[in-house]
């Protein structure tokens, strides 16, 4: 928000939407506060506010994604493509397809075949056991498997294994230091880290060997592998918590910027009155009052507790 806009809003004695500068999205601010707090209200228990937000979200999301997929999956690659190719037929130019210039008529034919295959998928809606959807499905599965097999094998097997096949000593590393801040740069640390990776990988893999009898040796190695896996899962859980807390903080930050700063109904700046009459606080008060009333009148009996 510009300084002038802030100034104009700060001087406004009472909420007047006509006085709001165009770069201040007051309606958006109220909607942000309303929907954020409606969703948070689920932490107390399932309630009509949460259901309202959930339904609006699903409806708006469906509309948005349908439009996006229509534009990028139907309009552009089929209709616009055929229109463009038709223009090239008239001008005698070549159509670029798969990195090669081809006859535009062929380009239209290829795209019509693709569109026909896509439509064949829909035949299942009318006749469940029809042969028609099997052809496009077979092509999709075949192409996808080929792409995944080649790319994934290279990226997730060959290159990581190659990355592991490195010396466990590093002659360029620093000598041992008693300074803990620099210990990661030392050769000893490098060697220990490399050994942990090698031993950890072998032990973890050994846990998934099911074709041999569990001898004490294999069982012992496998048990170490389980510990490695548990440490990995713990790390992943930690990162997940990190992400979820970051989302909560961002929401609080977002609501915080709407407390005052021109979005309030009364007061100026970030004073108590402007904060109390800002979208997040008023919406929170409204939701809390309704939930309390529902509890007092016993209308929340059907609401399930938060999980």
């Amino acid at each position: 928000m510009t300084f002038l806009a802030q100034q104009a809003l700060a001087e406004r004695p009472f909420f007047d939407i006509l006085a709001v500068p165009p770069d201040v999205d007051v309606v958006g601010a109220w909607l942000i506060a309303l929907f954020t707090l409606c969703v948070f209200s689920f932490l107390y228990k399932d309630n009509p506010f949460y259901k309202f937000a959930e339904h609006v979200f699903v409806g708006a999301g469906t509309a948005f994604f349908t439009l996006q997929y229509y534009e990028e999956g139907v309009l552009e690659p089929v209709i616009d493509h055929i229109h463009r190719a038709s223009g090239l037929i008239d001008s005698g130019g070549l159509l670029m397809l798969g990195g090669h210039g081809i006859d535009p008529t062929l380009g239209i034919v290829f795209r019509c075949i693709a569109a026909a295959l896509a439509l064949m998928l829909l035949v299942r809606l009318f006749k469940a056991d029809s042969w028609a959807p099997r052809w496009p499905l077979a092509i999709m599965v075949g192409v996808y498997a080929a792409l995944k097999m080649t790319g994934e094998t290279q990226a997730k097997l060959v290159l990581p294994v190659k990355g592991m096949l490195t010396p466990i000593t590093n002659p360029d590393a620093a000598a041992w230091s008693s300074d803990w801040a620099r210990v990661e740069d030392t050769g000893v640390f490098f060697t220990i880290a490399a050994l942990v990776v090698i031993v950890g990988t072998i032990c973890a893999l050994s846990h998934f060997i099911f074709t041999y009898k569990r001898t004490p040796l294999l069982g012992g190695v496998s048990r170490v592998g389980v510990v490695v896996l548990m440490i990995t899962f713990g790390s992943m859980f930690g990162f997940t918590v990190l992400g979820r807390i970051a989302l909560l903080i961002e929401r609080v930050d977002s609501l915080g910027t709407l407390s005052g700063n021109g979005y309030q109904m009364m007061g100026t700046g970030t004073g108590t009155l402007s904060v109390m009459t800002s979208p997040p606080v008023l919406t929170a008060v409204l939701i809390t009052l309704v939930l309390v009333l529902r509890k007092i009148t016993g209308k929340d009996a059907g609401d399930t507790a938060s999980t």
């Binding site: 909560l248 903080i249 930050d253």
Partner: protein, 278 residues
Amino acid sequence: MANVTDFDRRWIFLAMGVLVVGLYTTGAKSPAPQLEYVQAYYDVIEALPDDSIVMLSADFDPASAAELLPMYQATIHHLLRKNIRVVNVATWPAAPPYTRNEFNQITPQYGKLYGTDWVELGFLPGDDVAMAQMGASLHSAFSTDSRENKPLAELPLMGELGDSLQGIDLLITLSAGYPGILEWLAQVGGRYNMTILTGTTAVQTSDLYAFYPSQLAGFIGGATGATRYLELVSEQTEAMVHARDVNQNRIMIQEWAHMLILALIVVGNVLYFAGRGK
């Protein structure tokens, strides 16, 4: 003492809410730790010569914008400050509104021209297949740009880039899940021997260590990594100072929230084992 399993978890939600809101109002800040991977991300971009071409893929949606949007903004600032040209794509349908908004706001600050200094190719459906298609032929994957709906050949930057990804000096993906960095590595990284950087949500970060540095030249993980990157970028970009301060405040809150979770885990386990024998 009542059984720990009878404890109403809503008290925990309330405690977390009070802690986060209370710390937010203090406005206190905490710097992010030094992170080798983030430094590598920064250094790779710094080492690019002027007029390099970078493909910036937005593979996220509103659910992960809290972590990824600051990285995305800082990366655009970093690239444009270095006079690097940007090809902007998305493999998530909800990303284009973000990307357009950010480029609309940031490019005028550096006097960059659409079509010459940056282009917006938009969203391409198809996940892994879409990425492979971009690798095979950009002009087949995107016959027009999504901003002005012009044939790619009419945009100077795309004319210079040609049809393949060979002209791309660096691929950067801000990735929230599938499709994202792991698919870019499989479909583009190995096949075209391309340098790749990524910024990911914290949830995805643990998957990336195995790929650094052999396949990933650097990465930013979660809000902590984003804050560290903002600290590095803001040293030379005044526009990022406010975003850095906001993120440092978030880091401080995050540290205390984690302490609360740790304390709850310890208390919960102690109460559980203490009550098990009764």
